[in-house]
Subunit: 327 residues, 2 copies
Amino acid sequence: MNKEIEWIRSITPTKRHQSSLKVGIGDDAAIYSDDETKETVIAVDTMVEGVHFTKDTMPLKAIGHKALAVNISDLAAMGAVPLYYLVSIAIPKSGWLTEDLNEIYAGMKTLADHWEMDLIGGDTVSIDRNLVITVTALGKVEQGKRLLRSNASPEDVVFVTGPLGHSALGLEHLLKNSHKNIDDPELLPYIKAHQWPVPQVKAGRILAETDFKVALNDISDGLASEAKEIADASNVSVEIVWDNIPKTPFIKKAPIHKQEEWILYGGEDFQLIGTISKVEWPKLKQLFKENALSIHNIGSITSGKGEVKLVRDNETIVLTKTGYHHL
Amino acid sequence: MNKEIEWIRSITPTKRHQSSLKVGIGDDAAIYSDDETKETVIAVDTMVEGVHFTKDTMPLKAIGHKALAVNISDLAAMGAVPLYYLVSIAIPKSGWLTEDLNEIYAGMKTLADHWEMDLIGGDTVSIDRNLVITVTALGKVEQGKRLLRSNASPEDVVFVTGPLGHSALGLEHLLKNSHKNIDDPELLPYIKAHQWPVPQVKAGRILAETDFKVALNDISDGLASEAKEIADASNVSVEIVWDNIPKTPFIKKAPIHKQEEWILYGGEDFQLIGTISKVEWPKLKQLFKENALSIHNIGSITSGKGEVKLVRDNETIVLTKTGYHHL
């Protein structure tokens, strides 16, 4: 009991980034002051040992990093600035040392410090087996600036903020070999994409700060699934041109069915997929260039009823969230 | 996969209580508008199957009720009005039917509707075994009205809002017999206290709305532990008079060591413990009476360094969070 209290004290932040924080960890709940010019954005995600990670697929610090990163990614997809997070952790009765947990929290803290986020609360409980880590993240976005999935219109350009399929490719190798045994330099970028995803906060903020009408979603599941969510929410269809999807030479030389598996259905890349009018696309591209961020036109919105189509070799395929059929 | 999406749709609220909610479930994150006259209060708590509940100790609806209630109790202890909640659930691969989960969510919804709270987000993942349910709850309190543990001063009255030890007594019987087999009417209030805790929101609000200087804490752990938190945070000592602690005749006839176990160390009663100046105590008592709420003077604050003392039969005992020693 006393050891637990000491440990909680050891992970309690000693300094604050956000001046709006009034009460952090240490009372029944956290309190922060509000700002009427902004709206609060909130997301929660859970990672489970044996389902989302194992000690073989992820270094300890990366488990913490990723648990927070996937939530920041949700905030980024709404155009928000991340501000606060809470961590609830269920710790197995054996197999996890205090030093292991410290590493997990250190991984979160490094990412949180980068975005000046404060850890403002949490819970620590025990569980028979399987470590479970749930992060709640809060951010703010200027009123009326939110970037919803339902904002897409016919003839819009469909864009993504970076390469896809990297995390799934990396995971495929991690499931065969512990990360401690993978040192092939060609694989490392993909291993890193799985373990240390980078939430696209800056891209989300640029999109929120423009007055362009943008639909936006983060790619936590595969491209097919995320495009389908935009298509459904906006009541349009999405047409993706296979050759326009950014791919590394390493991915390009894999068999086509593997490329599809990683890119269309793999997920966990945490890039953003969005739409913007054809007229505004060149301006947006320029804006991203000025900010040293990448953005790629991978297709267009057509009138339709929630279909996602893939154009490749003069053939059009209709994708579902988990597979496809030929037209 | 599609079944999961259907299920999530089935638990997604179709109407909203709070007009400040802008985006609920269905996008990357939820969004609500802020109000500068108030501050946001946020808490998170996790309940784990086999640790906090089993199907033998709790009816399904009560699991949901309690997962939300313990969070509302944290908000109540800060004087806040509850507004929103998010639910992240890890579902074992076997042993839990969709109907079971629906019952859990129904238990949460009934309590949420009572307090006009909106379910605004969540996550659904799988786990090998042990259902894990994490609730994040948000509320608001008027600026400067927050009721911190650090507000206690020497000579203050120490009060509690209701009887203690009921949940622990109930749990003791639930661990011997499944709740389906307990029908002794004398035990039912204690079983109910464990399964269906009532967060003291109204009491918290009355305390926040007065201008009295109040320290406040909810009793999730035992009385000894919660009093110690106030003593530590306020840098004072707490003196509790055993005979002043409200006890039912049923508890009074138990051996003294059982009474102590339930009341001092049992916890999960989710009553509030607080302090207020001697001068203002009669006014507070009157205010609670007018609102048909109970409140009991159980002791006083003395100058000191974080000790919790229990006065009984002309003897003073120093309590620790988990036990005691004689002076």
